[in-house]
Symmetry: C2
Subunit: 321 residues, 2 copies
């Protein structure tokens, strides 16, 4: 296969388009600001312009265009539903728009699904057939590789790990609402307002509503007792979410990305404690690998290209890379 | 393929062995009591004797032996770890023992995994490629068919839906510990001991420690207010477990079996309420089918035989049935 693949990363801040070869190496790459606030049409034109810079004129050389887009989206139809960070986007049929514009097959996927594809194709999970990617930042997202194929489900809506119900008693909550950045920030504000001391107050110049997940992380890394406690509790709950994924998927490797994963051992140590404490058998974690991602800011364009060469995630990775 | 398949159901009460044709129709079937309390060796001899009654002398006609066994077990090695209802069984290499005895390939699987295989091959989930089986009785077990293949994971330990952590606050608990029969029975005893009235007291002749899940179910069906309340609460939590499976697997159909599923709408109505209330998008349940199983007491021998023809669950069902 000597064809070329176009990978597009549509983000709230940047649009990036790349041309990759069949081995998923980036040949050429362009990017511009998304500027979604300027309206849908100008943003669509910017996407087309970036693709236009990297796509060969001879479309027979192009296997397809893969797009990483913010969820919720429908990977079957290529419709972007209504992403919070793409103002004015409501049910935009991006797949069809680009297919009409460029005359090649178009595949869409969300970032966590594409991240596991990319990491398994050429990154941290290369060579593994049962792999999970979990991203923890302002939300929690997941992508699963099952026996070398992307888990999609009936409508491509599978792998929504962050929306697992984790507190099902009087109160109902989810993994994301309990363990992601905003939950940590909210706990910090509540405790500070109740009179506890923390370096976080100084970090935000006393403006408590500016405390976010990153603030808690920075304070924890600086040794702030309250921030350390909040991170540890969130990491334990996050670990229980990982326990659920281990019991359900029995993977060989879990790749953990996203801003909160930068906390390193502050996240990983309590997470591992939960795993050891709550798995029903140590066979689930004895030889389990948990690592950070290997691919940096190009993960989405590589994942989008991997989506193309696996026919939307339906083909086995080892058949194509 | 005109070969014959042997399906074995090793249960705490009964051993059943059947000869099936390549279309998974049962040709011949024998059963005997397990009598595990008499010791490991006599039980193993009974298993071999039952298989001996149905296996053709010409082993070339036999594609393999499939065994449904109580978990925990290792489907890769065929080792039965230590099932609570098989007294004296500790790390018994049942797969190897039967391979040596009969000279044909042997495959082992747990009951919930084999149930989804059987129901998808010839039962309630026939024709569906994304299907989940959840059994709710004294425990909660799961089996998942993903794009027409059994979800196994690295060591075949996947699909343990009952062990999902569902309460992750001060207290840590699982779906099974919150929603299965024993949890309902325990809640009933606690409330009766606290002075609440219930028909359940009469149902067990005042012996409160004899209240089990079935007692709660019978009382609920008879209109007992406390039992109805307990079933409804458990069913809501069970529904949240289903929500997690919908978010993670996005299936077309969920088959719900096990003793508690006999409660019908008393279980299904609150379960559906949880699904509608807690799925992040109605695309997860709008066209979702939730039904009871179609296969009766032969589900395990049929599932065991399906395991053989799918090479341990690795091949796509539609390629073989």
């Amino acid at each position: 296969m000597s064809k070329t693949i176009i990978g597009v990363d549509l983000g709230g801040t940047r649009i990036r388009a790349a041309r990759l070869d069949a081995r998923l190496s980036i040949i050429e790459r362009h990017e511009t600001l998304t500027r979604a606030h300027e309206g849908l049409e100008p943003t669509l034109e910017r996407i087309k312009a970036e693709i236009g810079k990297v796509i060969p004129d001879n479309r027979d050389d192009v296997l397809g265009i893969g797009i990483s887009a913010p969820g919720p989206l429908n990977p079957e139809t290529g419709v972007i539903v209504s992403p919070p960070n793409l103002h004015g986007w409501h049910n935009v049929p991006l797949g069809d728009i680009l297919k009409d514009a460029f005359g090649v097959p178009v595949y869409t996927g969300n970032d966590a699904n594409l991240a596991i594809l990319a990491e398994a194709a050429v990154g941290a999970a290369k060579g593994y057939k049962h792999a999970i990617y979990v991203t923890i930042s302002t939300g929690i997202g997941g992508g699963m590789l099952i026996d070398d194929r992307l888990l999609l489900g009936r409508h491509g809506l599978a792998a929504e790990a962050g929306h697992m119900v984790m507190v099902a008693g009087e109160r109902v909550s989810t993994l994301e609402l309990e363990a992601a950045g905003p939950a940590m920030a909210k706990r910090a504000r509540t405790r500070i307002e109740a009179g506890e001391q923390s370096q976080m107050v100084a970090l935000v110049d006393g403006k408590l509503d500016e405390i976010n997940g990153a603030t808690v992380g920075r304070a924890a890394q600086a040794g702030d007792v309250m921030a350390l406690d909040i991170v540890e509790r969130a990491a334990r709950v996050f670990g229980m979410g990982i326990v659920n994924l281990l019991h359900l998927f029995n993977p060989e490797i879990v790749v953990i990305g996203g801003g909160v994963s930068q906390l390193g051992d502050l996240l990983f140590d309590p997470m591992w404690e939960s795993i050891r404490a709550h798995c029903i058998d140590d066979a689930y974690w004895r030889d389990l690998v948990i690592v950070g991602p290997e691919l940096g800011e190009d993960v989405s364009v590589i994942g989008a290209a991997t989506l193309v060469i696996t026919d939307g995630g339906k083909r086995s990775l080892q058949d194509v890379v």
